[in-house]
């Protein structure tokens, strides 16, 4: 083979390799995409079924409850319009606190409880994940109303 043909062959092989790699990774991409769902949408049932997604909001004051001596922790997360009960088992991040922003990865089970596999609280107190800040800003109607509304009103507040 002449050098030129050899090079063409090499380029061809490289392209085939890249095509295979691209195909593989795109497939995996679909499976690893995780959507951010606003609490109000999740409560209304507009969330991906049977797969993980992310939620974010503020930890409701006074909602954090532990079973004594157990690793399970229950709390509620709110976007100020609706709130969603969350259960998590494990060690919480340092900046997890009532009234602070939080992001959770997990899935919403039939029991209406969000089973979190991962809890993220950011390392900077001033910093809030943009999607959480946006979601909260959208739902804040009365800044003084610290207690989120529950029940039927919740869905209708959805803008």
């Amino acid at each position: 083979m002449k050098p030129r043909q050899q090079r063409m062959l090499a380029v061809g092989l490289a392209l085939v390799g890249i095509a295979i790699a691209a195909g593989l990774t795109l497939r995996a991409f679909q499976d690893n995409m995780m959507f951010f769902v606003e609490i109000s949408d999740a409560v209304a049932g507009n969330h991906p079924k049977a797969r993980n997604f992310r939620i974010g909001g503020l930890v409701v004051d006074g909602s954090v409850q532990r079973e004594e001596g157990s690793m399970d922790i229950h709390f509620e997360v709110t976007d100020t319009a609706c709130s969603l009960p969350v259960v998590y088992s494990g060690v919480l991040p340092d900046l997890f606190r009532e009234g602070q922003g939080v992001v959770a990865h997990g899935r919403l089970e039939e029991d209406g409880v969000f089973h979190a596999e991962k809890i993220l609280a950011k390392h900077d107190e001033e910093y809030m994940a943009p999607e959480v800040a946006e979601s909260i800003a959208k739902h804040v109607q009365d800044k003084t109303a610290a207690v989120p509304k529950q029940g039927p009103e919740c869905g209708s507040n959805d803008s």
Binding site: M1, P3, Q6, R7, L9, A10, A14, G17, I18, A21, L24, T25, A28, F29, D31, N32, M33, M34, F35, F36, R54, R66, E68, G69, S70, M71, I73, S89, G90, V91, L92, D94, L95, L120, K122, H123, D124, E125, E126, Y127, A129, P130, E131
Partner: protein, 662 residues
Amino acid sequence: MIPEIGQFSLILALMLAIAQGVLPLLGAHRDDATMMVAGRSAAMGQFLFVAVSFACLTWAFLNSDFSVLYVANHSQLSLPTMYKVSAVWGAHEGSLLMWILLLSAWTVAVAKFSKGLPQAFSSRVIGVLGLLSVGFLLFALLTSNPFDRLVPPPADGGDLNPLLQDPGLAIHPPLLYIGYVGFSVAFAFAIAAMISGDLDQRWAKWTRPWTTVAWMFLTLGIAIGSWWAYYELGWGGWWFWDPVENASFMPWLIGTALIHSLAVTERRGLFKSWTLLLAITAFSLSLLGTFLVRSGIIVSVHAFATDPTRGFFILSFLAVVVIGALILYAWRAPSLDSDAGFSLLSRETFLLLNNVLLVVAAALVLIGTLSPLVIELLNGGKISIGPPWFNIAFIVPMLPLIVLLGLGMHTMWRVQAKETWFNPLKIPALIAVVLGIVVPWIFYGRITVLLAAGCIAGFWIIGSSLVLPIRSLLREKGAAGITRSALGMSIAHLGMGLFVIGVTIVSAFNHESDQALRQGGTVEVAGYEFELRELRDVQGPNYSAIEGLVEIRKDGDYVGTLRPQKRQYLVQKNWMTEAGIHVDWNKDLFVALGDQIGEGAWSVRIQYKPMIRFIWFGALIMALGGLIAVTDKRYRSKEPVAPKKSKGKGGRKRKVAAEGAQ
């Protein structure tokens, strides 16, 4: 007063940077030696004034001058002195000032060590660096002035983020920035070559050591960042595919490709335009990283408090740099073709594949990092891409890269005879296959295909990297020894092998367990017993803490005692976890206190991390390889400056046959 001096110095530095950006470029164009020399002086002056400015900010921190807003926000009276200094670069404004300082320091280094280069060329390099300085100085002065005053000054400052009060984080940003900024030198060399339209093998020889040094610092910076994240932030993870980590990793990947492509350009005069493109890309990705970190556009644990004007400025700067460089490239690159040939089995082919795979890897990381942004802009919803995707996507180009790496090191330039090619590699290949299967099986009791592939790959690189050094040791004295270049290459690749082993073993065999633990209670993880013997209160200089005393035993034998802490910093009232880590060459045992969960129990995270030290040790060895390579003789020899004629077409053939010389 002192902060005003700092501010004023920064403005003077901007004036000098403008002079440094304009005069030498103009001088080189008009062949005016006075103007070209003036550029160097301007560069020195710029460095001096930036240094004064940096010193002023440091002074403000050391003296707790809370009338300076930046100091008031990021320092505090009882902050230990060491962290008062590192707080200078602990947030956006100061770290930008450090970036500028390092850029001007690199420029001065270029001015000093480029005496052997043609004057017009080195002047253009300094000019381009001056223009970059102008961009960053404007960024600082217009959007991020570290000397802004706060009236009236508060009695005490808001304290440095406790996470940043750590020796690892004190040195991580400077190292990383030296690397990032260092790629601007490679970029400036590329632009200078394109302006003059004269790019030969000497160009690659001049560019190489600068690129290698930048790469070396970036390697160290990333490794230390990963190490810090592991013990301070990450609850035991060492890499999270966080957008900002990716932002540092993409320039690293492209920089690695650039180093290899420069080798081909220097040795054989090939891949010229490709090398230029990589030099442009490496620096552009450094800028992109800066944009991602400082605009807050992407969700990340690293994100600075955000300000849209900053993001806009950096994005505009990025656009000017990238578009400008690419236009120049489109104009000049076609004339750079080289018709030197190489056969399919040659080192050139392997280095080409190296480049393709590294670029693919960088592209995948880029896709994973930016796709959430793109999908959101297209109204596809807010998504995030999980680490599992990156792990899979990254292995795809990396495994072939590793296999080819071992082969490529032992392949000749131009053409390699097939018959003798694999001979020196038979033994390393055999050893790699045996060890790769036996080691995980015997020591960790399990083997899978992917695990074996990772281990074989790691041992394969280690083995084939040792062939050259061992051979040169065994040869009689006085015989052709190994060059520093080749030794550096072997050692850097050896580091890569150690890294691969570390990653493979720790991913396969790490144990992680969140447990409830009472005082006096014991849990077992990975065959080790962890007993929480005692909990007590401890006072630090600016925090109070609860410290656990955890004794580790294996089969009843004492292994060690860990003291994990839960700290509360007095000013910001933040709780911080300080993990207790038992370090051994082949494993880490990691204990972190979680929360008090009632009934006298604590939630505790316990981890067993086999071979994790190899990850950072491997990176250290890689950087060491880079250091050895740049001390090669040929970078020090001051060739007489030839007139712009040697076009590199077979004219300057080096002793390419010398086996292993890179």
